[in-house]
Symmetry: C2
Subunit: 156 residues, 2 copies
């Protein structure tokens, strides 16, 4: 396929498996083709990409530097239809094999994606994606001199 | 209003200002009324609430313990219509005045919301919300013995 083609899907809920397949193949082009040309993507640290080419570039970088040998597993998928031609897919994931930054192998991560899907002439594409890590035992984040950290106010 | 009523909106893009107003009034009931009864809400640490009452309870706790004196400011709002009766609203926010956990006042935070809106008989309600902090200088998160931390692989 050329960079301008897309991989429209027959059903909106395919996005989670198709995204994980592209991720596990470290294939940024195939991943980007799941998105509309003007799709929005908010990643786990709030980077906000606003078109397919930026989504491709960001994942190309990610697969070269950070996630080239990682494995994403889908833990749960939830579909909500919004009329005939739009839908939301929530996908909970786990991730192993992130590239190390020191000597220790990074621990597994878990998180949840919200994908918003729209049906066009050729099928369903993602028009928005938003991803967040799940932080066990935390309720929110707090910003201090050391940066941003997960925290709980339960015993406060 | 009773707990079962909602505050349907005339236009989908109202969600960002209505959410910020409810937040800045520390009013969990008004905030929850912006959502459909079975709405999904994924917060900044991946807590996933799947109905309006859980959304209300979580924000009631948050306003009592964490955000009672906080102020949310909207920095940018972006609307995408999905046909006649669905829409996506991205809202970038900043937040000051989070309750301290030690002696120091927490620093301001910034982040981005994705709201998915659906039009019903009474107007527009949020059917999904997903919120993530923006972490300056970071590209992703890494899990290690100290927990989950923002990081960059730029110079790796």
């Amino acid at each position: 396929m050329t960079a301008d083609e897309t991989s429209a899907m027959d059903h909106p809920e395919e996005i989670s498996t198709r995204f994980a397949e592209a991720w596990n193949s470290a294939d940024a082009a195939s991943l980007a083709e799941l998105f509309a040309h003007d799709a929005d993507f908010v990643n786990v640290v709030g980077l906000w990409w606003e078109d397919r080419e930026r989504i491709r570039q960001a994942h190309d970088y990610g697969f070269r530097k950070i996630f080239g040998n990682s494995a994403m597993t889908l833990e749960r998928t939830k579909l909500r239809r919004l009329g005939e031609s739009a839908a939301i897919v929530h996908a909970e994931w786990s991730l192993t094999g992130q590239t190390a930054q020191g000597e220790k192998q990074p621990r597994p991560r878990r998180g949840v994606f919200t994908f918003v899907m729209q049906q066009g002439d050729s099928g369903w594409l993602a028009v928005a994606a938003h991803n967040t890590d799940r932080v066990p035992g935390s309720e929110t984040l707090i910003a201090d001199d050391d940066g941003l950290s997960p925290t709980s106010y339960q015993n406060r």
